[in-house]
Symmetry: C2
Subunit: 328 residues, 2 copies
Amino acid sequence: MANIQEVAKKAGVSVATVSRVLNKQAIVSDKTKEKVEQAIKELNYEPSLLGRNLRTSESRLILVLIPSISNPFYAEIINGIEDTAISQNYNILLCDTDSNPERESIYFNLVKNRMADGVISMDPTVNKERLFELAETYPIVQCSEYDEHGYIPYVTINNEEAAYHAVKHLIDVGHKRIALINSDEKFLYARERRQGFERALAESNLPIEDKWIYHTEEVDFEDGQKAMAHLLELEEKPTAVFAVSDVLAIGALKEIHSKGLKVPDDLAIVGFDKISFSNMTYPTLTTVSQPMYTMGCTAVNMLIDRLQGKEVNSVMLEHELIIRESTT
Amino acid sequence: MANIQEVAKKAGVSVATVSRVLNKQAIVSDKTKEKVEQAIKELNYEPSLLGRNLRTSESRLILVLIPSISNPFYAEIINGIEDTAISQNYNILLCDTDSNPERESIYFNLVKNRMADGVISMDPTVNKERLFELAETYPIVQCSEYDEHGYIPYVTINNEEAAYHAVKHLIDVGHKRIALINSDEKFLYARERRQGFERALAESNLPIEDKWIYHTEEVDFEDGQKAMAHLLELEEKPTAVFAVSDVLAIGALKEIHSKGLKVPDDLAIVGFDKISFSNMTYPTLTTVSQPMYTMGCTAVNMLIDRLQGKEVNSVMLEHELIIRESTT
DNA sequence: ATGAAAGCGCTAACAG
DNA sequence: CTGTTAGCGCTTTCAT
């Protein structure tokens, strides 16, 4: 556990010189550089980032906020975040809030306490007020979920359009009675996807029936099951379902099967997110793919730009409808 | 962004006193405490952990190593880790190595550079040599996967026994031709589960046939599909399959379906891990449940004990066979 | 090209 | 009970 002083002493130079070869920017003569490197090797020296970070007053840590690590939707985004962060010498502090304000508060404090330089929030359940407050002082980027009226830059997709495409596809293959399994409309993405759903219906002169719109409490498999169970009890049943997340769609699929019905013959279904499991269901799930990896990369790049004081603009990425067995 | 000095000045006390009220251990008179708290509030002061950590030479960060964040098996363990870490004022640096030695190397350096106080490794693909080397200097705990000959403490389950139970169950419901979809036997858990598999077979005087043992390259859905495709091409087909992970089992299930076969009538299948998906497949998957949350908690507690210089002993937790539709 | 010295923000002896 | 002071390990002027 040698420190920079011991290295300097052993190499017969000053600590400043050691620091210089460590950071390879300032000019050091080849001879001294060699001496220093020799000393570093002999002492097995590893510079302490604690010291460096205090001095430069940065932590080089990015706080990444997600509502639940169990939700596979976030996995691929995080891959993108991690790759990009590492390439820029940052690391990530992955925090799942479990939609728990207390936890969120702990994580926000990490930023205030300078243990993180900025935050990427992917948590739709985040306390908006507190996030905005934090954003006044610290760089924040929102990823996937965002706030339409806020000034926090974000990277997302066009949810309205994506939902429109999904529902349009159901209409195109002949469905007229289409249900929506939505999550709580306190989430912007839920409101936007509903709008897309309604636009597609309206465009084809199909009625928008309240009874075919179900709002779940959470976004777990069980919520999808419950939603579908409800829809299947209706007098006039839908022939197709658009669920705003694959997890919900998969729960719905499960429920359909356990009622002895067949997909897509009795009921077609389309999900959202293209999580890897959506290709393992029987039948495979038609879904909307988001460029998750790219979203993660973009979010990090935006945040680092902000960290460097640059202006950044919000970004909207392309989505893609993946047609699989559950609708055809 | 006030610092401790400004607070001290405003409160008319020394920085030491401010530090004392911050850490609420030393005795400070109520009057001065109030003054300090007032100053803190007025200045909106938040203590910098960078300064504190440098001084106490700890980062209060725990490095958590997983091979892939997309593998749902780790999600619940991480929940346990996070809850326990937070309750002890630690935070976690979640790092997925992607089984990439270069990344691993970056993460190991985080420890050497004092950005993390210790590591919990759940990565079976980790470079053992380098892990052992690191363990000579820094506290490390292994979770789930471990090394039988190493001196690194671990928390895990009895894999041999768990596999034995799973296979015994298949035998009990009448199967005689049982295949094993195993991952690479460079992993200890894979070797142990194979032993359990063989013990169950031997005990019932069933032959252990090489042709019914398949080793996958990775542990993704696709590997399970490939494995099953292979087994279904055999002249003499098995009537049951034990897969050493739910992800593999779900891939196998998919393949069975797409060949037009039925589970469990044509082929029974049991997985391992009890990931949440395993209850959403059709039919639902019989599997072995590990106490994942508890494993995470235990790992953190062990690590913190080590961080405090205490001796810790490895722990083996209980597993449970969850019988569902895929075998009955 | 290199060194001396200041200081990032905090904690912890030590003194009083 | 409180203040003074010395660092933790590093980077970065400012001289030389």
